[in-house]
């Protein structure tokens, strides 16, 4: 096994910025440095319009940065061809969305198997692996249920199974609990915590302080600027009390940079 210093980070942003070409041009993400290492659990929080979606689209290779260098698993992908970016999306990144994005006419296992289509997984292996992924999120018994027959929490677990089935380097979650009730949210945070415990690299964008508090690193984004916060206590009473809008307080953190990110580097898993 390579030492942590020689292994490339899962995500490395070097002065990555994004500007909507307007008119007038809007700088949605100011030039940012960010390193996320293997096995880290990172929460990104911020008010609406702060640039969360922009950051997620850049990290998920759904959009291209207008400046800077974006590397995933050491591969420079900011300016790579769509072919290479699609290949990385297929195998290195798992997506979990707020609205689940399950195909409504397909059963849970068929939705999971959709992730194999573009990743070039042999058809004979697909069913067993999808079933095992569904078992991993505790839904093996509902493998043949349609999404309409599943609760919100179950749907999101199907989506997580779909995101994990190709064993990605990075799990990108965009408001994973945004459409869930508190019980399901609890189940989902437990599931994410378990995944982190198994060594998965998680990046969760969330409004929910409980979900954010579970992460080992918290990054706040505001007006296109990233700032790192210290690891929050899981049961920070102040955060729990002020759930309606925890972002109205003044941002205590300094602008986030590579030197800060480096301090949070974890040993390789």
């Amino acid at each position: 096994m390579t030492s942590p210093s020689s292994e490339p980070p899962v995500i490395q942003l070097s002065a990555v910025g994004y500007t909507y070409s307007g008119p007038p041009p809007v700088q949605a993400l100011r030039p940012t440095d960010l390193v996320i290492r293997r096995g880290e659990h990172v929460a990104i929080t911020g008010p609406s319009g702060s640039g969360k979606s922009t950051l997620l689209n850049l990290l998920g290779l759904l959009d291209r940065p207008t400046q800077g260098k974006l590397e995933i698993d050491g591969i420079d992908l900011g300016h790579a061809s769509e072919r290479d970016r699609a290949a990385v999306r297929a195998r290195h990144i798992g997506f979990v969305f707020q609205s689940f994005h399950l195909l409504p006419h397909r059963s849970a296992i068929e939705n999971v198997m959709l992730a194999f289509v573009y990743a070039d997984v042999p058809r004979r292996r697909r069913y067993a692996e999808a079933m095992s992924a569904l078992g991993g999120v505790g839904l093996a018994r509902k493998a043949h249920a349609l999404p309409t027959e599943l609760s919100g929490g179950e749907r999101q677990r199907v989506a997580i199974a779909r995101a994990l089935v190709n064993r990605p380097s990075l799990l990108l979650c965009d408001e994973p609990t945004g459409n869930l009730d508190t019980t399901s949210t609890k189940e989902l945070t437990d599931l994410l915590g378990g995944l982190h415990g198994q060594g998965a690299t998680l990046l969760v964008i969330t409004h929910n302080p409980v979900v954010a508090a579970q992460a080992q690193r918290q990054i706040r984004i505001r007006d296109g600027c990233l700032s790192e916060q210290g690891p929050a206590l899981p049961h920070d009473p102040e955060m729990l009390r002020d759930q309606r809008d925890p972002w109205t307080q003044e941002d205590p953190g300094a602008h986030f940079g590579e030197q800060n990110g480096g301090s949070h580097a974890r040993p390789g898993v």
Partner: protein, 416 residues
């Protein structure tokens, strides 16, 4: 650095794929997602392809029917008519030269040829007894004919002989009777060289025709040599101008017809008009063309409607399923994979429409054929071409929606 290099290599090796089996499966799943809409969408294609198949099958069948009913006899007969353009003050005219038979016989492909015309119009009576005997007079048609005309008419003898070049050249007063005419005149045997009297003029009966010559005139009446008729009654009257019968070899009728007038009247061929039988091949074509003209246009309109329907449905599907498109892009689909999927869906719609249309078209054609007691004829290739044509239409109809689908930005699509 080593890890980075190996990662890059891995990425380059393993690009995202969209296998044919997956493509087919996804396209079919996409269509079955809304089976009712898919079925309605293909109706236009079904109508168009079905129409084409039915029309082609029916026109082929009809053309085949015409071919069967065309008999060889009709196909080998050319007639040359005297237009009467050079008629004299009394209206009578004879524009066929006396050696007309010989002139036309020289044309390649001619078996026999001869001139004939009707002589009497009720004013010349025919009797088996001399005028002095005042016997029963029978109203029989009398025709003048050259020896070649009788041969060309396909006349077969029941008894005796036909008149020949000798009788013609010497204007002999001889006659050939049709079978029914002989019966009416009471002549059953030629042993005693019976005579008949046409307008009081005696003619020796030298032959009696068997049934079924081409011209009823010869079969029902009395035929005398052309030269004798000219001598006794003059040129053909305006009401019954002279006509030439030409019996040709099979397939030569058209060519002979083109040459006959010039051969007979090199100085003024326009006074004669030659008529060939309709070429069976041409007739088939014209039947097909008349079918084509009306119905193929309708089927074409149905096909265009079908194509527009497929294009519309696919475009609606693209817009409806934009979040699915975003998801697929997030799962590693490239724009071309998205485009191929929607192209495959529209092609499958077209193919399905073509298959159903071909089946319905054949069924319609068979139903009509059975109702008309025809023999169904259908080029088997059409059964395979029709679904392929449907698939091509679906493919073309899907081009624009597929392009639209491939240009949808995944980040935008996933936000919905």
């Amino acid at each position: 650095m080593r890890a980075r290099a190996s990662s890059r290599r891995r990425s380059a090796q393993t690009r995202s794929r969209f296998r044919l089996a997956d493509l087919t499966g996804e396209a079919i799943a996409g269509l079955l997602q809304r089976p009712g809409r898919s079925a309605l969408t293909v109706l236009g294609t079904v109508a168009g392809i079905g129409g084409f198949v039915a029309i082609v099958a029916l026109s082929q069948t009809a053309a085949g029917q015409i071919g069967k009913e065309f008999n060889v006899q009709d196909a080998t007969q050319v007639t040359v008519n005297d237009t009467g353009a050079r008629s004299g003050p009394d209206g009578r005219t004879m524009d066929f030269p006396m050696n007309a038979d010989a002139l036309v016989d020289r044309i390649h492909g001619v078996v026999a040829a001869g001139v004939w015309w009707p002589v009497n119009f009720g004013n010349i009576s025919v009797s088996a007894l001399p005028p002095s005997a005042d016997g029963t007079k029978v109203g029989l048609p009398v025709s003048a004919a050259s020896p070649g005309a009788l041969t060309a008419s396909g006349a077969q003898l029941a008894a005796g002989v036909l008149f020949n070049q000798f009788h013609e050249a010497t204007a002999q007063d001889v006659a050939v009777l049709g079978k029914s005419a002989a019966a009416q005149l009471g002549i059953s045997s030629l042993v005693n060289e019976p005579a008949i009297f046409i307008g009081g003029q005696p003619f020796t009966v030298i032959g009696i025709l068997a049934d079924d010559p081409r011209l009823a005139q010869f079969n029902l009446g009395v035929t005398v040599p052309e030269s004798a008729a000219l001598r006794l009654w003059g040129s053909p009257q305006p009401a019954g101008p002279a006509q030439m019968l030409i019996h040709t070899k099979l397939g030569a009728a058209q060519v002979v017809a083109e040459q006959a007038a010039v051969a007979l009247q090199p100085d003024d061929p326009k006074v004669l008009t030659a008529t060939a039988p309709v070429n069976p091949a041409q007739l088939k074509k014209s039947v097909t063309a008349s079918f084509n003209a009306v119905f193929l246009a309708l089927a074409g309109v149905a096909l265009v409607i079908g194509a527009v329907g497929i294009a519309n449905t696919t475009l609606v599907a693209v817009l409806e399923r934009s979040s699915e498109i975003g998801l697929r892009r997030a799962l590693g689909a490239r724009p071309r994979h998205i485009a191929t999927q929607f192209l495959a869906e529209s092609t499958a719609l077209g193919l399905f429409g073509g298959l159903v249309g071909a089946c319905l078209g054949v069924l319609v054609a068979i139903a009509v054929t059975v109702a008309e007691h025809w023999t169904a004829l259908l080029d088997a290739r059409i059964v395979f071409v029709a679904p392929a044509a449907g698939a091509v239409i679906g493919l073309l109809a899907g081009l624009y929606p597929a392009l639209r689908a491939s240009t949808i930005e995944p980040a935008d699509a996933l936000r919905r």
